[in-house]
């Protein structure tokens, strides 16, 4: 939980802020490593030397076998996990903690069970300095955006998985974040709800111009949504390959281009 300052390891040739090929990068990950220290004292390298530049308004997906460090990398961008070495910057500013424009949607909905849907969303405004009534009004607006105004008074345990995940998206949007970090947000949902929410997410992304980093283990989900798909390999986690997805939206699963990419990613994943 503690947020010790990020350790920086800048090699002399890494250059000054803003130079290099990823000049236009909005999120910049340079040589990021993560080592977990275990209770027994041993050190486990989980991410090794990750370099990645993500442009503003880009939709990027991380895909890879479970345990390859997707969640860890996402949490590092969110500022919830320290970077052991290397650095991560958002709009040129090194990430030192949460609250630098990152909104997070977690794998399990992570709603506060003691708050109703609208209060959960209003929680996102608590640093805004808005009056209570105003927070509530805006929270209701956000619930309407995800189609849940009717369920405003329900507690999380009184909602289905899909509704819970919609509420967490609305809550993350309360910060009006420039970046939306989503960790397998639809992983636990049934196929129908999942497709619905994917479409809704694309709608929000286009309407509100967000940069989205999206973790999934579903190839077709990544293909439906992303501009680029980053494939991670395990032990220790590293970027194996990046697939640009140059298919026009709305995308169709029956598109031959879709299938070709699906096959290519499948091959890369299974070797």
């Amino acid at each position: 939980m503690s947020q010790s300052p990020v350790m920086e390891r800048r090699s002399p040739d890494a250059g000054v802020e803003g130079h290099g090929p990823a000049e236009t990068a909005f999120i910049r990950i340079d040589g990021a490593r993560k080592v977990f220290t275990q209770r027994s004292g041993g050190a486990v390298p989980v991410l090794d030397n990750v370099d990645l530049a993500i442009a503003e308004n880009e939709f990027v997906s991380f895909i890879g076998r479970s345990g390859c460090g997707k969640t860890t990398l996402l949490n590092m961008i969110a500022g919830l996990e320290d970077v052991s070495a290397g650095r991560i910057a958002i709009a040129g500013k090194v990430v030192t903690g949460p609250g630098q424009g990152q909104g997070v949607v977690f794998q399990q909905h992570a709603l506060f069970p003691w708050l109703t849907a609208v209060d959960n969303v209003a929680f996102g405004f608590h640093k805004s300095g808005l009056a209570k009534a105003e927070r509530r009004r805006r929270a209701l607006d956000l619930l309407a955006l995800v189609g849940l105004e009717a369920a405003a008074g329900r507690y999380p345990r009184e909602m289905s998985g899909g509704m819970q995940q919609r509420v967490s998206i609305a809550r993350a949007l309360a910060l009006d974040p420039q970046i939306l970090l989503m960790d397998e947000p639809f992983g636990a949902l049934d196929e129908l709800t999942r497709i619905e929410l994917q479409q809704e997410l694309l709608r929000i992304w286009e309407a509100r111009r967000k940069t989205i980093v999206f973790v999934t283990h579903s190839i077709s989900e990544a293909l439906m949504l992303s501009d680029r798909i980053v494939l991670l390999a395990p032990n220790p986690g590293r970027i194996k390959r990046i697939f640009p997805v140059d298919l026009p939206r709305p995308r169709l699963r029956t598109d031959p281009g879709f299938n070709a990419l699906y096959q290519a990613i499948w091959n890369e994943l299974s070797t």
Binding site: M1, G99, P113, W114, R157
Partner: protein, 259 residues
Amino acid sequence: MKPLSRLSAASDLTLGLIGAILAVAAWEISARTGLVDPAIFPSPSLAIRAAAERLTAETVADNLFWSLLRVFSGFLLGALAGAAVGIAAGWYRGFGAIARPLIELLRPIPPLAWIPLAIIWFGLGEPSKFFIIFLGAFFPVVTAAYQGMRSIDPMLLKAAQTFGLSGVPLLLRVAVPAAAPDLATGVRIGWGLSFGVLVAAELIAADRGLGYMIINERNTGGSVGVIVVGILLIGALNLITDAAIGAAIKRWIGRWHGA
């Protein structure tokens, strides 16, 4: 669904009532027929008659008042202290590392075993009773609060951090509510223990209260009926207050926690 479950709840209640009536009837009959000696175990009707003769409403009310005052004050402060210490021990590692072993060392000592020491420290008056009732509430609540804090889903804390919450606001707005269900269980156990401790303390060293009322009846060679009524009264009081606390807890967290 709803009418059906209400129906079955009603029939549960009826069956329970029938069972209770049967039990009381069996007790009455066995005392009347001489199956048990009414001098040592009087029938309910006899006991009530004896109690009505020997006790005035005023005496009962006075003893009841003292018992309730003791148990509420001791419980309230014990539960508050237990919650504060348990929450702090779960949240602040350094404090937990020192406080926990001390608590674990003292926890296996039953609250009643503190009676002599309480008398040594505070004399025979009210403070010593307050102290052991306090302990009766403190240990279950402190244990439950600590366990509740340690089993918070870290995801909730992370989610709150993404909204810029940290430090004391994170503790009060997220960690404490998340630990509330465990805390509530501890409070309920603490109430039961406080109540048991109260009665014992009044039996062993007191000059008023319901516990004193019944032991005094026996020491002055009074009526067994009064003792029986006193025991039932104490039991009913425990049952009612426990149900009230259960209902309060349900109002507090029931809607979001289920249960």
